[in-house]
Symmetry: D2
Subunit: 377 residues, 4 copies
């Protein structure tokens, strides 16, 4: 693992997600840009001190020198955005598979470069767009893919948070500080941090690609350096339209990501606060509640479920589904067998490029006086 | 009553709303442009045949000739949009108070004329934006007015319907036919029919005025003559921003109007499907559920509630609240007493003008290549 | 109307319910045992003073002397329980149809006598068990009747209130005072007031009859004279079993009556707080949400619905459904036509006898050391 | 680990729960009474073959012979009920800490013996009553303990399942077979399997002890050998009363364990389907929604939460909280430091004895003609 030392948030989440299904063992780490802190973090995690490294470069170099059956196989990179590209590139080029936290890179340019690296090295790559790991999000995708809702017409996706409704970066809050710092986050705040999740969720569930956007991007909290709020009108290839909302200043909101999609024949709705339910509405019969663990659900939902219906699975299990599917794919590669389609259903470098394109396009659209701007990569 | 004969939808709703609190008695009507049908409707409603009229003109003229203590006092006009202005104008100018179904007129120009008529005649006028009659919508307004949420930053309002997801106007559906007919509805379909409700709700609850819009307006169902779908980015005077969604093609959706508003200190959320609850979220304490009938609610909520908490009041009661408050205000006028502020809290001609301005502005914005267009009246 | 003067609660509810559908006109009343108060109440309601009576006896006698086309046709009796039997009997015997608030009488003996009166006079009689007027409660009954859930096995019904969690009868609260007074309420408090509703709901929805009970009846608030809390194990004819809960001391609870029923093939659940939804669960397919106004619902649900799906109908509309169906039945009688089965689906004297039998049996069971006591009438 | 081989359900859950927080490493196992199957299970789990044992006896004996720094420290026992007592006793007496699946033993007599063993050996013991691991269940307990709800008056607890609504034990279903087999489950079916959970939840949350019960226990599905349904009236020490429902034949129900408790000043409600919310109702102010991750929650809730509010934690995290707290307590013992009260808040042998007493008392009460039977141990 690179990054994720003491005080970090997402690093701990990655470690739990990797542990849940017993497919990974944490064997080495470079947990902080501060070597002392990184060492302490590794010790606290019970690592062998010889494999706690002072930097990601050291980690990659040293691990590469270990015998193949001892060296780390998959490197998780959970650093702030500006330290995504270099370690990922180096890890891939030195033969390691990579799990990377989103957004993929600091810029679209880096993202396109990383795509080239992934393709040229042939190593496997997973980008942790967590919400696509929920069983009922997968069910939504499969339901739409099956054609039961008919041709898709409308897509509403929303990610409201409230934690940045005050100027926390002025109060020595580590998470707030780097996420609102253009030098660490990139050109976008809310749009990069959570807008990319909403964008990815919309494209994943519908199978459609955004073609045009019209964005209203705001810095609401005085003194903040990056956007903390935005709303975007969307057009999709094929004629559907939609709205994407991402905000960090909805005081009191937690993280209730939600999506609703309407097709010619019916509509569906999912929201994180009730993550094990998928509501499907029909014009001429009762609405249905699909549930995680239901025997009638798709192979994609069932493969990503651990417990019988009614025992709630949550965010950590959704995250673990990404790790588990990536592990199953890595193992299939090692064993020379074919990965099942359910295993391959994790976000990769293509989603990362589109996510960074979203970020750059949406910020540009926000600044433009023109109404519709094409989605360009 | 003018309009609302057999086969109409909203006329029956108006009659129930007027009856609920016993403040009105239906004494006369011109229920249809077809005199035979109008007559039959009036008979079915138990009216004295002498007061069932063949046209709105006849109604107004004949009633005016009756002795003051016998003639109708308030005329409800529930015709399609293109027959709103003339009867309202004539009724007001002949000394009758008017309750008019929304949207107020066929065009903004008519709306502005009607405003002049209301002001010059001094008669009372109510426009039935039903959703502002819900006790918990009133509570939301009072909560924001009290400053407890701090300065308002974001406003999301949404009105999804699914009933026009098919080409019903091709299937001899009376409601679908006139609502999608530019000659009867005006320049807008969904935006005029339900977009105006959403717009009114947003301005009512927040007390803010929209200053700029950026609209994506669509005709989704092939063959339809007016918009059946739209999404609008909003800017408000004072700096808040928002999103308004109105669609009639969300297959399977009923009429779940909803609004959420965030201020510096907290957020609130209301939706028609759970109309007796108002959820208020805070950054640092548990979210609260305000309930219709709660002893802790404002005088505005309590005045508009009939039963103890837990006995659901619904759409008809919200509608009845408009009628009741209008009656109380009319009676205060007759008695020369002062109307209480809770009674005066019904939508009037100013809301009607803004609603028609919304319709014209939003359709213009939808056609414009310019991003932000100012809200002009 | 008999009873329901100023300060009363349920009288005003009856009047609204009777008005909603325009089937009734309030023409006379004896609103209070205090003639002055009764007079004032009638005047406030806009009645002709000649038909505001000083007592129920006077009302029945005087109205009977009026010409048939002027006299009242249906008498609503909304007095406290100890003044149910005599006025009902007298009204029926003098040729009036009767709507009576529940519970039917002061004692089971009176109830059986009243049944005889109804049968011998041939007049129509409606007992206002409101909750059976909800469209989705009717849908539940029809769904079970259709056999889709299979043979019924379990019935859980619950009526929690919190308003009597303090000793309100010591604080000059009119509602609390008579409802906790054995001289006015009868032998039961909570069990008579809301337990009978729960009991009626269970028998109505399932079509089954309770055969045995085992009751835990409590007086929780110190100083109270009647039960304010109870829970009852139930056995039904045919083998189903269940639990009935009724309490008035669940502090903070409103009136969330709810019922859930399981059959061999599926289960259903309804609760007043979400009164327009009926949840139906199946072992092998997604749960379904039946909704008031849904085109797929039974003729019973549709007949009792006024507005398109998504516009919430509530408690007053449920109450109005009883009044409307009673009126339709009365009119069919006058016109010599046959009442439709949907109209006849209102609670009557048989439900009243069973309700009083429930009250007496449950209080007896509460006092008994024997576990199961048979349900006797 | 003892038990939990291929085909088992709860064994896999225990392993995930133990892994989530990285406090445990699976080092050895006797996974099945069938040695071949046990071996295969251990290999699939990646265990060193030398530490996959053919029986629990072999496991305990062999592990005890290993050097202290290599041998297993905590033994998880996840076998069917009839193989709980012997392995637990032997493990404890040979110096191992034990985590045991509920119900604790086959009989109350065994339970009391096991309590003596725990006390005499001084080893630590955890019984996995999972639902007490939910942060919002802990919050409920702390809220009641704080006195904010006043003295407790009513307790309703319910555990509805539908999976045994058909005769699955006739269809070669492993889970159904042993759970309905008196030789493996003991004298109770539903009451032992899920009734004990409901009972434990009620006593945990309220801090009260059941003193008397009156039970209706049924075998609903023809051919079944043990109860699959029951409802129990409860009395608690100190005067509160309540109802416990546990059923396995509510067709279509998942596992929506729920509890609601009323005190003199307010009420609370929690249900597994919305496990991260705790609803608290007050007579005179808005209801509140306490949420997992809320900064305002108790130290007990916060200690048992991993992610920021809004990222749902579920059943596996609740289960993991038991394992984590047990591990923290074990480590405190090893380090000679004092365990924090939040760590010690896991169910132990006392809860196990009361659970087995519940099972025996409730079955006896079900068979008794006497109404109230005292809760005896």
């Amino acid at each position: 693992m690179i990054g994720g030392g003491q005080g970090a948030f997402i690093g701990a989440v990655h470690r739990i997600a990797a542990r849940i299904d017993g497919e990974y063992e944490l064997v080495c780490g470079a947990f902080s840009s501060d070597p002392l802190k990184g060492k302490a973090s590794g010790v606290a995690l019970g690592l062998d001190e010889s494999r706690i490294y002072g930097s990601y470069k050291e980690l990659i170099e040293k691990e590469k020198q270990l015998p193949e059956d001892q060296r780390v196989q998959v490197i998780s990179i959970v650093t702030p955005n500006h330290v995504h590209f270099e370690p990922s590139k180096m890890a891939l080029e030195n033969g390691f598979h990579v799990v990377l936290d989103k957004p993929m890179t600091f810029s679209l340019d880096e993202a396109k470069q990383l795509k080239t690296v992934v393709e040229s090295t042939g190593k496997l790559f997973c980008l942790t767009h967590t919400y696509t790991g929920y069983p009922m999000v997968k069910e939504a995708k499969q339901l739409i893919k099956s054609g039961k809702l008919g041709k898709i017409r409308k897509v509403y996706v929303s990610y409201p948070q409230g934690w940045l409704s005050e100027f926390l970066e002025g109060a020595d809050n580590k998470q707030a500080s780097w996420r609102t710092d253009p030098g660490k986050s990139g050109i976008a705040g809310a749009m990069g941090d959570i807008g990319t999740h909403a964008f990815n969720l919309a494209e994943y569930v519908t199978g459609l690609s955004v073609s045009h956007m019209c964005a209203d991007i705001n810095v609401v909290v005085p003194g903040r350096k990056l956007d903390d709020d935005g709303a975007v009108l969307l057009k999709f290839d094929g004629g559907a339209s939609g709205v994407l909302i991402a905000t960090q200043i909805a005081a009191g909101e937690e993280n209730n990501v939600r999506i609703s999609v309407s097709g010619e024949k019916g509509s569906l709705e999912w929201q994180q606060v009730d993550c094990n339910s998928l509501i499907v509405r029909w014009p001429d019969k009762p609405a249905e509640i699909y549930r995680t663990g239901g025997g009638y659900t798709s192979s994609y939902a069932q493969h990503n479920t651990r417990t019988p219906a009614g025992h709630p699975e949550g965010y950590l299990e959704a995250f673990a589904n990404l790790y588990r599917n990536f592990a199953l794919t890595v193992k299939a590669g090692l064993e020379g067998t074919e990965a099942q389609p359910e295993w391959l259903d994790y976000p990769g470098v293509e989603e990362g490029v589109r996510g960074m394109a979203f970020t750059e396009n949406v910020i540009a659209s926000g600044k433009s006086d023109q109404k519709w701007t094409p989605f360009t990569i």
